[in-house]
């Protein structure tokens, strides 16, 4: 070996040594999951179930990046704080998928994560700390007012008594979740009118909400039948609704995303005059008369046969015209004159597709998909029956379980889950990613 090459070789060896040493030095992260455990080393997560080892893939082409924390959720999902964002995996799937985070989530690259006993995800990023709702993935970023001083923090550890320790190299900052009382919300007015439960308020345009809630709480709203809670700014204004009667709900969320009881609001938005029954029927009648006149004139001199044909022609022309008009306007309740806007949504590469299903839990713990038909319920589509199980409380869920078990007493269920099966769309086809558990009910 020539002497002048020796320093170069030494540098190369040193770099390799540092890299390898760094990898060896990084302790594997490990956490349990139903049926086994997950082990993360570097950017690779491995599932170990007895003798079976599966190296999990990732829907992100570049992978998750260096993995910094694993946070198991009671529903079986494991959240993975990684260099390229927050990922999740569940026992049903062999692939990590980026969590679609919504508003309020702490910005930045995740550094640490922990799920508390209520299923809330505590997330520390390189820029902020906060709480994430694991049903809808909206969040709340903590500030000084929430008892957490300015970072940056480098690590999140679970301390004694469930306390969360945020470390920045010096004395840790401790936050103890789960100590806040359930928030309360009092709605006083909607769109300038006094709020009255179950009384439809006649409104038009945006709906300013006058409400009182605990300090630090934020408000959210959703239409009844739509499960996603939408954020409200300060002052809170619910966006305008289309004509017709609508129901929506308001909740207050404290900084730990604990929700108040929902407050239902019923509103009625007037139809424009041209949608009113009398006007529509009047226009249709007028067109029919004009058509009849036209056909009668065209068939004049043809005797009764021509008159009958004119009447039939006017009716047929009306039917065809109404079909075209309904097809352009697109409304279902004018059936059998309807629009055809079904299946017109668009998806692209990486889009997430949801299918909400019921999963029955048998006394031996086994699980299978069931339909609401098991409870003898009628429905147009399963979600019509599943939605109340998501939105309602344990009373609705208990009633549904009772219906199921009365309908099939020889094969009773112990409980059920409402899960959103999810697929990530890729060029190679859809990839099943971790489902979201929207509701759970089990009887002991």
């Amino acid at each position: 070996m020539r002497p002048r090459r020796a320093p170069v070789l030494l540098v190369v060896l040193a770099v390799w040594g540092l890299l390898l040493g760094g990898a060896w030095a990084q302790e594997p992260l490990e956490c349990p999951e139903p049926g086994g455990r997950l082990v993360a080393v570097g950017s690779q997560v491995t599932r170990i179930q007895g003798e079976r080892r599966v190296e999990l893939g990732c829907t992100e082409p570049g992978g998750p990046g260096a993995i910094r924390a694993l946070a198991p959720h009671p529903d079986g999902t494991t959240y993975i704080a990684a260099q390229r964002g927050l990922f999740a995996v569940s026992p049903e799937v062999d692939v990590l998928d980026a969590v679609d985070l919504r508003d309020g989530v702490p910005p930045g690259a995740p550094v640490g994560a922990h799920v508390d006993g209520r299923g809330k995800l505590w997330l520390l990023t390189d820029g902020a700390f906060g709480c994430v709702d694991t049903d809808f993935y909206f969040g709340r970023t903590f500030g000084v007012a929430d008892g957490v001083g300015p970072g940056p923090y480098r690590a999140l550890r679970l301390g004694r008594d469930g306390a969360l320790e945020l470390r920045d190299g010096s004395q840790p900052v401790v936050y103890r979740p789960g100590r806040l009382p359930k928030p309360r919300l009092q709605v006083r007015g909607v769109a300038g009118q006094p709020y009255r439960p179950e009384v439809a308020l006649a409104v038009a345009g945006d709906l300013p909400i006058e409400a009182a809630c605990d300090d630090g709480a934020t408000l959210r709203w959703r239409r009844v039948g739509h499960h996603l809670w939408q954020p409200l700014e300060v002052p809170p204004v619910v966006p305008a609704f289309p004509p017709g009667e609508h129901r929506f709900e308001l909740i207050a969320l404290d900084r730990e995303l604990q929700a108040s009881d929902p407050v239902p609001v019923v509103i009625r938005v007037a139809y424009p005059f041209y949608y009113q029954k009398q006007v529509l029927l009047g226009i249709a009648g007028g067109v029919a008369v004009v058509l009849l006149g036209g056909f009668l004139v065209a068939g004049r001199g043809g005797g009764w046969g021509a008159v009958l044909r004119a009447i039939a022609s006017a009716g047929l022309a009306m039917v065809v015209l109404l079909q075209v008009a309904a097809g352009l306007a697109g409304h279902g309740r004018s059936w059998p004159f309807v629009g055809y806007s079904m299946y017109t949504e668009r998806y692209g590469e990486g889009s997430l597709v949801y299918k909400t299903v019921l999963i029955g839990i048998w006394p031996d713990g086994s699980r299978r998909e069931i339909t609401p038909g098991r409870a003898g319920l009628t429905m147009d589509d399963p979600f019509q029956r599943i939605a109340p199980l998501i939105h309602g409380g344990d009373a609705e869920r208990r009633e549904f379980l009772g219906l199921c078990n009365r309908a099939q007493p020889h094969d009773p269920l112990r409980g059920f889950l409402v899960a959103s099966k999810r697929y990530r769309l890729t060029d190679q086809g859809p990839v099943a990613v971790y489902p979201v558990i929207l509701a759970r009910y089990e009887e002991s």
């Binding site: 047929l316 039917v319 097809g327 299946y343 692209g348 429905m379 086809g429």
Partner: protein
């Protein structure tokens, strides 16, 4: 004739159409109405029971028509009554008893039945063509063929002095239900295709969209079809093209050979990839485009002539279509109804059987015989029975020298292709095997007690007819 005669509108709606085509369309639409009724009863009857206090009904959100008419939810007794009336009306519509009234009752109550289901849930668009076909059926002479009404009408026509086999064959009102059904189907597909382009844009064709829609509804074929994005792209483009351009079949009917299989295939795939249900109330209504009166002859030609391979393909194709329709039909209809299928199956064998033709020798000068001939002609759907009028005895004697004139005036004679003669009740036994509607009775006519009783009844009627001769109703013998 109206001055608009010859205009596009006039030709489209009022071009004369064979009454047999209309009748076949009526029967198919009625069977579809039955399938739909039984299927939707699973939605309507439980809600009605809930209204009657057996649970909590889903929220009542009436369709616009119900709102205008002020219709409200009904309880179980009313729902059961409506269901029963509908079943009876559909049966009458299929058999052709008070056909127009039955069709009108079915149209109104089927609309009501669907409206009830949709007012408790959400409206669907799979049976719009069926609903408009039902509403248009009463406008046309729906009972003029393949119906009990038509048999009665034939007898009445003979009583008024008409010829037994002289019946109107087409009507300018006969095409209206089929035309409205065609137009509704074409508009529906066009608007569905146009909506995808208008609301989804060209991005709808990117393959991911179809992948997403399939997986969002996730049935047992979804993963297979959604697994290849390129294939999804091709399917998206084909789907939108077929839907958007479907109305061209109204201008170039030959294109039905492409469009009917294409959209049927599309619905079958969406059934298994998107859990839409079989959608038969839409794709089967495409029979409105077909010359149903000519279909049996065409199928018979495909099955019985030409190269063996072509016949085999035709057989497999026909069997597949029939099997598919029956499979979907029996998803709603109780399986014991399948026993009734032995009847049309036997009729189909009879119809395909190349031989078996007979000649019935009738006394054309006898009123009773003429009425019997009118009924026989109305029942001879397979064209197996030719008629020879006894009045032209010279022709009869030349053709069938084995017949005796005196015996022919006394009894009905039927001669088969081999020259074998069946007389009296035996002639009716022979005829029963050749008339599809009475085919199930044919074996029964050979049971000993039935034969004995049948002969006695026949003798009584035949002798009674002879006694009529004394009143100048009938003439006896070839010389009159």
């Amino acid at each position: 004739m109206a001055p608009v005669n010859g205009s596009f509108w006039q030709r489209f709606w009022y071009a004369p159409v064979p009454l047999t085509r209309l009748a076949a369309f009526r029967i198919i639409i009625m069977i579809l109405a039955l399938w739909d009724l039984v299927g939707y009863s699973r939605l309507v009857l439980p809600e009605a029971a809930a209204v009657s206090g057996a649970g909590t009904p889903r929220p009542w959100n009436p369709i616009f028509a119900f709102e205008v008419l002020g219709l409200q939810p009904i309880g179980l007794p009313v729902a059961t009554a409506v269901y029963t009336v509908l079943l009876v009306a559909i049966a009458c519509g299929i058999l052709g008893i008070a056909t127009r009234v039955a069709c009108l009752v079915v149209a109104l109550l089927a609309f009501y039945w669907s409206g009830l289901a949709y007012s408790f849930g959400k409206p669907h668009h799979d049976k719009i063509a069926l609903v408009f076909a039902l509403l248009a059926l009463p406008l046309a002479p729906v009972g003029a063929r393949l119906s009990i009404d038509s048999l009665i009408a034939r007898v009445r026509r003979v009583r008024r002095g008409g010829a037994p086999t002289d019946v109107p064959r087409q009507s300018e009102w006969a095409g209206i239900p089929m035309r409205l059904c065609q137009l509704t189907i074409a508009l529906g597909y066009f608007l569905a295709g146009a909506s995808k382009l208008k609301l989804g844009g060209l991005e709808w064709l990117n393959g991911y969209t179809l992948q997403g829609i399939m997986m969002g509804h996730d049935n047992h074929w979804s993963a297979f079809f959604a697994g290849n994005r390129r294939a999804c792209q091709v399917m998206s483009a084909g789907l939108v093209f077929t839907q958007f351009t479907y109305p061209v079949v109204l201008l170039w009917p030959r294109l039905l050979w492409f469009y009917i299989p294409s959209v049927t295939l599309m619905h079958l795939i969406t059934w298994h990839t998107m859990d839409t249900g079989p959608y038969m109330s839409l794709w089967l209504t495409q029979v409105a485009f077909l010359p149903l009166d000519r279909a049996p002859a065409a199928v018979r030609t495909w099955l019985t002539t030409g190269p063996l391979l072509r016949r085999l393909v035709a057989f497999l194709g026909t069997a597949a279509v029939i099997a598919l329709v029956l499979y979907v039909l029996f998803m709603n209809i109780p399986t014991w109804v399948a026993w009734f299928l032995v009847w049309p199956a036997a009729a189909a064998v009879l119809w395909l059987w190349p031989g078996g033709k007979v000649v019935g020798v009738f006394d054309g000068g006898c009123g009773f015989c003429r009425r019997a001939l009118a009924v026989l002609h109305g029942l001879d759907w397979c064209g197996k029975v030719a008629v020879q009028n006894l009045v032209q005895w010279d022709e009869v004697a030349q053709r069938f020298p084995q017949l005796d004139a005196e015996a022919c005036t006394r009894d009905l004679h039927v001669v088969d292709a081999r020259g074998r003669v069946s007389v009296g009740f035996g002639a009716y036994q022979v005829l029963a095997w050749r008339l599809p509607l009475v085919l199930p009775l044919a074996p029964l006519l050979y049971l000993p007690p039935v034969t004995t009783i049948g002969r006695k009844i026949y003798r009584g009627i035949a002798d009674g007819r002879r006694r009529d001769l004394g009143h100048g109703v009938c003439r006896i013998g070839p010389s009159g």
